[in-house]
Amino acid sequence: MILKDYLIIDPHGMHARPATALLRLARQFKSEFSLKKDGNKIQMKSMLNILSLALKCGDTISVIIEGDDESQAVAAFDNFFNEEMKKF
């Protein structure tokens, strides 16, 4: 299992377009993904569940990845949160 914290850098927070992109990114891997913020933990299988965390710019989100390809997945998530999130 890998647990990693990421900072939300988009000025509008985690809104519909990045949430959709994140869901689609997760689906490229076999691992199971969860997001955790302030005691709320959600399975990353629904875009609305991601939005329900109401992540704002400056918030930190914990990503939990479990599965055979978790190392590859975390590399992709690094790129997503650090680079792709700037583009929405």
Partner: protein, 133 residues
Amino acid sequence: MRKFLIAAHGTLPEGIQSSLEIIMGSLENVFLIQAYVGENKSLKEEIDSVLEHINNEDELIVFTDLMGGSVTNQILQYALKENVYIISGFNLPLLLEVLLADPSSPVLEVIETGINNARNQIVFVNKLITTNK
């Protein structure tokens, strides 16, 4: 293959398609029926045109605007089959949930989860903000 039909009075389907494309990118396997505008085709003819693209192995999830409205009633009358699933009272969150669902997830589970999650998206935001203060 899972396919989708958005059917409503007027140009609501085209509008919601635009919203979906902004969020999701281009859509695949999504049909629209915009009742009572444009061509002089009857609703039945429009439904039949969509059904021509649906084979027995496909699943067609139909989103209609109003329970009890003429669009839902005619979809029910002309399209209901074993592999057709009709949901009335759609909103953008429901469409996002269902269209973004894992295609390998069972269709009934996708619909139930989608409806529950989409229902929770109807929120009196002012009240929520006041409560959280």
